[in-house]
């Protein structure tokens, strides 16, 4: 059913359609509207679930961990500092192979405190062992949540659906919300692979020593490798069931003959597509590759799609000071030696708008090869000098 | 590992009764089984339960916790129950064909007879008195040991097949020896010591006085008893019962140093017996004027005569300053001063095949010790009859109070036998104390700390952090139903530390 609603509300409705049995809630902007939406559904009796208001994000995911181990389909949502506060539990949930689904309303991490969107939070837990899927639109956010429960339960692996904070979560958009019967047909009842059942006692979360830890980690990686095909398959099934394409490993746009390709993740894709269209109209062979699946990382898919490109720009909303863009690093690993020119673009940090003019300029500079190895989109040098006058020279040098 | 240690009660018992074991059966209400364990050592539980001076209780560790277990009360309960229920002694072993003659049907002689009979030997007991029992009959007044009880316990021996020839004075030891494979002499010590210068109608040996029992003539006036031992007090209390207006015990030392059992002294005082300490009898005139030399207490319990004397008018002076063995016929058997027969630790005299015990040999001269002699002598006799060397009894390690973990025991004051007779001056020879009702016997049996012997409290099983103590089905073959699984034991020692009764021992795995 088509609806014009807030992205968060769409996610809440999608999650509710998946019939989660335990929902853990702790407020943090910009994720808050999702759990608020779910609380209304539970309190009004429209959704039969245990709704637990907890005292911290650490507890939120921990409650989900317990609930999942207790055999219940479990869901929570968080953002930013909250994700870091629960970081220990994030790793734990994956290690325990618990099929929890969590929405991440992506947001910057302080200090300085900043409540706006970027991907710093997601990047901070990229090694935790979760499947991490990025939604480009609110429709995709809705659809990815439905796919996430299926994937998590199939793979015994938690799934984080990353939805850009504010840009998607707070945007009032047109979304097609599936019917309950459709979702029920797509997503079977949760049949836990392991659970705390007195009839069949098992120990979950044992200590593992050096003699087996490598093997356990190997299996965790193996699960992610399996996820690469599972994600595609689930997206295909989804497309057949719901009649629209959503999810999968990547979205390719105008890549057939693209010489210059912009690679990115999340909601910025829409604006990029607009600019790609403009560039194409102007006769320049540009394309766009959007990663849906960040974990597992679709290396083979990226290589297949981009190996013919001459220039690849990796635009990402995160920065590891002292290193650069984490996404760029990974793309570089895949494409080094195949694509002559690879540029790292850091953009949209802390809610900085990524606009068409900026992207146009970016393409133009890329065409002329006029980009620093790590390019900060729309860097305002006046802010830097206001902070410290000596900085200008330092940057000028690089 | 679990180890059974020798509890102090057992250690102190002259008979060597396995008191802890029969108490533990009694507390389970397995009275017959308890009695069976009891009579493995002592065929006279009803008698000793009354007349023994409870050496066991002197040893009882519980005294240091609250009060001793009233062991004798439980023993008496079991003995009386056995009489009431007519439980027979265990069936003796098959006849050995050996014949043993015993001279003296007192506690020692009857005890040896019992134990020998249990071994299948044919036993004949000779006694010069008209009735069997020896000192149990002629030394212990019936208010302490009713005669029907004594008779009943002796009757059980007769039922076992022991022949008792009463009123038969053995005069020819060689003849007796010729008729038997072995002999046991247990004639006791009946020859009273006298006081020089104290003779006459009004002077009588206390033991002889006691022999008359209640059948003796009525007394009047003041009766004095000279001596501080149990016999003296028995005599004094008997005199009261026989009508004496006043009974005075004269003792050469201080009252604190009376050698009689304190309970006996206390009862005597309660009944109205007066004790005049620090007095030595130096003479007694024909009209009953007893001359007393006053003593002054000195160092280390010694007393020194003073020059002061006093006189006491009495109708009767009973002398209870000890007895000696009559040394009439035992030329070949080495005797010591006072007529006592020398024996080795197996009660063998210098003459092969002749053994002796009881008051005849150097000992503490109590019924209990005499019964104990009989038990041990029977072992030696059996060995002798079988041509073996006497058995060496294995001594178990003792268990001191400090090894007990008192945390696990509850304070529970001792209960005593209730009185049959009113307090104060006694009017009859009726037994003073009543046998425990079952409830009290059970209570006292349950007060036993079970020193050094597992009482299956399962504390070890419960406190083992490693589940290394197995119980029940997984501890098959263990006497106490508990077993250590050394594969799981880490040797922390918690079980040994916590064991209430100290029966768990830690042994190093490697030395």
């Amino acid at each position: 059913m088509l609806k014009q609603i807030e992205g968060s509300q769409g996610v809440a409705e999608a999650v509710a359609l998946c019939r989660p049995q335990v929902i853990c809630a702790y407020p943090i902007t910009p994720q808050t509207h999702i759990v608020e939406g779910l609380s209304v559904l539970v309190k009004s009796g429209k959704l039969a679930a245990e709704y637990i208001n907890v005292e911290s994000e650490f507890a939120a995911l921990s409650v989900a961990i317990g609930a999942s181990a207790g055999g219940a389909r479990s869901y929570t949502a968080t953002s930013s500092q909250g994700l870091l506060y629960m970081a220990e539990a994030v790793y734990n949930a994956a290690g325990l192979e618990l099929p929890i689904v969590m929405t991440l309303g992506t947001r910057a991490i302080g200090a300085p405190i900043n409540i706006w969107n970027d991907h710093s939070d997601a990047m901070a837990v990229r090694g935790a062992g979760w499947i991490m899927l990025f939604a480009e639109t609110n429709q995709e956010a809705v659809d990815l949540h439905i796919q996430a429960f299926l994937l998590a339960e199939q793979l015994k692996c938690p799934v984080m659906v990353c939805v850009d904070g504010f840009i998607l979560t707070h945007a009032n958009d047109r979304m097609d919300i599936p019917a309950q019967e459709e979702v029920d047909a797509f997503l079977p009842t949760f049949a836990p692979a392991q659970m705390l059942d007195p009839a069949h006692p098992c120990s979950i979360g044992a200590m593992v020593g050096p003699e087996s830890f490598t093997e356990v980690r190997y299996l965790a990686h193996h699960r992610q490798v399996l996820a690469l095909s599972a994600i595609s398959q689930v997206a295909e099934t989804f497309c057949k069931t719901f009649g629209r394409s959503s999810g999968g490993l990547v979205h390719a746009y105008q890549l057939q003959d693209a010489e210059t390709v912009l690679l990115s993740m999340g909601s910025v894709g829409g604006t990029i597509r607009e600019v790609v269209d403009e560039e194409r109209t102007a006769g320049r062979k540009v394309g766009y590759l959007s990663l849906v699946s960040f974990r597992p990382f679709p290396s083979a898919e990226i290589e297949r799609l981009l190996k013919k490109a001459r220039t690849v720009l990796v635009l990402e909303k995160a920065l590891e000071p002292g290193s650069g863009g984490p996404l760029f690093g990974q793309v570089q690993q895949v494409l080094a030696g195949e694509v002559p020119r690879l540029f790292s673009v850091i953009a949209g940090l802390g809610g900085r708008a990524i606009t068409r003019p900026s992207l146009r300029q970016l393409f133009s500079r890329a065409h002329s090869g006029d980009l620093e190895p790590i390019h900060f989109l729309d860097l305002d040098r006046s802010v830097l000098t206001a902070y410290d006058a000596t900085l200008q020279d330092a940057f000028g040098a690089c | 590992m679990y180890k059974e240690l020798l509890p102090p009660c057992n250690r102190s018992c002259p008979i060597g009764e396995n008191i802890q074991e029969w108490l533990s059966l009694a507390e389970e209400k397995q009275y017959r089984e308890a009695w069976q364990v009891l009579v493995q050592a002592n065929p006279f539980p009803s008698c000793t339960g009354r007349a023994c001076y409870h050496f066991c209780e002197k040893g009882c560790n519980r005294a240091q916790f609250d009060e001793t277990v009233n062991i004798h009360g439980v023993e008496r309960f079991l003995g009386d129950l056995a009489l009431r229920e007519r439980w027979p002694f265990p069936k003796p072993a098959s006849a050995s064909g050996k014949k043993v003659s015993i001279v003296g049907a007192g506690p020692s002689g009857l005890s040896v007879a019992y134990h020998l009979a249990q071994q299948g030997h044919s036993v004949t007991v000779y006694d010069r008195f008209k009735e069997a029992g020896g000192l149990m009959r002629y030394g212990v007044p019936s208010y302490r040991l009713p005669r029907d009880i004594l008779c009943a316990e002796i009757q059980k021996l007769v039922n076992l097949g022991i022949t008792i020839r009463l009123d038969t004075e053995v005069t020819d030891l060689s003849k007796l020896q010729a008729e038997s494979d072995a002999c046991y002499l247990a004639l006791g010590a009946w020859k009273p010591r006298g006081i020089p210068g104290c003779e006459g109608e009004r002077v009588q040996a206390a033991l002889g006085f006691l022999c008359q029992e209640e059948t003796g003539s009525r007394l009047s006036g003041t009766v004095a008893v000279y001596g501080g031992g149990n016999t003296a007090f028995d005599a004094a209390r008997t005199a009261l019962r026989r009508g004496a207006a006043r009974v005075v015990v004269l003792y050469r030392n201080t009252q604190e140093r009376l050698s009689a059992h304190p309970e006996e002294v206390a009862l005597a005082l309660q009944e109205g017996v007066d004790v005049l300490p620090l007095r030595v009898v130096t003479g007694c005139s024909g009209d009953g004027q007893v001359t007393l030399e006053l003593q002054s207490p000195g160092q280390e319990g010694k007393v020194a005569p003073s020059s002061t004397t006093e006189t006491l008018a009495v109708t009767l002076l009973l002398v209870a300053i000890g007895q000696e063995v009559e040394s009439t016929l035992w030329e070949r058997v080495v005797q010591q001063e006072g007529g006592r027969i020398s024996v080795d630790r197996h009660f063998a005299t210098n003459v092969p095949g002749i053994f002796a015990g009881g008051d005849m040999v150097p000992s503490g001269r109590t019924i209990t010790e005499a019964i104990g002699h009989g038990r041990r002598a029977a072992l030696a006799l059996t060995a002798y009859l079988e041509g073996k060397s006497p058995p060496v009894l294995e001594k178990r390690e003792g268990i001191p109070f400090e090894r007990l973990n008192l945390h696990y025991y509850e304070q529970a004051p001792q209960r005593q036998e209730s009185r049959n007779t009113p307090e104060g001056r006694p009017r009859s020879f009726q037994e003073i104390f009543a046998t425990f009702p079952e409830e009290t016997a059970l209570y006292e049996a349950r007060r036993c700390l079970s020193c050094g012997n597992c009482f299956r409290c399962d504390t070890c099983y419960g406190v083992c952090p490693d589940n290394a103590v197995c119980k029940g089905a997984s501890a098959k073959g263990a006497k106490n139903g508990l077993m250590f699984d050394y594969d799981y034991c880490k040797g922390c020692g918690l079980c040994a530390q916590e064991c209430p009764c100290g029966c768990i021992h830690m042994i190093p795995e490697y030395k």
């Binding site: 245990e50 507890a59 317990g66 207790g70 220990e88 979360g205 | 509850e410 530390q497």
Partner: protein
């Protein structure tokens, strides 16, 4: 005679004369939820405490029990892959989230319609009074149907004996060495989690000791008779961390109670309802002596009377507060 009076059977764990009066731990068919073969140290108080508590809870729930354990000795020694000493459904997640995980398990049981399966969470004092206290308070406040059990050995033992907020004043730990002008753990206001639990107004709070198994088992079964959040704080000496002889674990546990420093009490809905009367009291010094962590209080040069008096005052205050004698 009182019926059922067994001078040597009422305090022992078992009573062969009246088996029903003995503890569950004396029964041959006790569940052994924490079974043997685990890797605890010699004389481990926590291993005992855990078996006592879980077995009793297992009995109270007739085996319909799920257990959540925080990181710590108990978890490490009982569950080294591929073995597990747990015979109940058991899980371990993290150090500080045990209460929250238990909330989740309880929620799952409700959601699945199997709420007769009760949840027990357990952790050490570090896990409970320090790092996991936020989650614990959350559990209390929400009133989820969980019995949370803290095994208090008064320091972080798993990591090598560091101070926790349950470490008593003056105690030597690896992070409170017995040197300087205030040797050992400094005196503070303390953090009495049982009282904090009581302040949350939850249905049932109790303290217990492994030295008093009847009392402990009775408290566990009482706890299981309530629903909602409940808290049980069990004192479990640690031979390694306390510097005590492994065989004396229960001796020290008893002495802690008898000296008053570890009062045993029960409370319901925010109010203390019952305290374990002490049949005897002992001076605090008697409890502390024999533990190497307090050895500096009993130096050869003379006892540290000032600190001993302060500790005695703590004990006296507990005795008065909980009306222990």
């Amino acid at each position: 005679m009182q019926k059922d009076f067994y001078p040597k059977g009422t305090k022992t764990l078992g009573n062969r004369l009246a088996p029903s009066l003995g503890t569950l731990q004396a029964q041959e068919d006790r569940p052994n939820c924490l079974t043997g073969g685990h890797r605890a140290c010699q004389g481990c108080g926590e291993a005992l405490g855990a078996r006592y508590v879980i077995d009793a809870a297992w009995k109270a729930t007739q085996g319909r029990l799920a257990v959540v354990t925080g990181t710590g000795c108990l978890e490490v020694f009982s569950s080294l892959y591929p073995e597990s000493a747990w015979q109940t459904p058991w899980m371990h997640s993290l150090f500080g989230n045990t209460a929250a995980v238990a909330t989740g398990v309880a929620a799952a049981m409700r959601a699945r319609g199997t709420s007769e399966v009760r949840v027990l969470a357990q952790g050490g004092d570090g896990s409970t009074t320090d790092i996991g206290f936020g989650c614990l308070s959350g559990l209390f406040e929400r009133g989820d149907d969980v019995l949370y059990v803290c095994y208090d050995n008064e320091a972080y033992m798993n990591t090598g004996v560091q101070r926790s907020s349950a470490t008593p004043p003056t105690a030597r730990t690896a992070t409170t060495p017995p040197v300087g002008s205030a040797p050992g753990n400094p005196f503070g206001t303390g953090k009495n989690v049982p009282k904090l639990a009581l302040a949350h107004g939850i249905s049932y709070v109790a303290t217990a000791s492994i030295a008093f198994v009847h009392d402990l088992e009775q408290k566990v079964s009482r706890a299981m008779s309530f629903h909602g959040a409940r808290y049980l704080h069990v004192h479990v000496p640690c031979p390694l961390g306390w510097g005590t002889n492994p065989r004396d674990t229960l001796v020290h546990a008893r002495n802690a109670v008898y000296c008053g420093l570890f009062p045993l009490f029960e409370g319901e809905n925010g109010v203390v309802t019952h305290s374990f009367k002490l049949e005897k009291t002992i001076p605090v010094a008697e409890y502390l002596r024999g533990q190497r962590r307090f050895a500096h209080l009993f130096a050869k040069s003379g006892p540290d009377t000032e600190r001993l008096q302060a500790l005695q005052a703590m004990a006296d205050a507990y005795i008065a507060e909980f009306n222990l004698v």
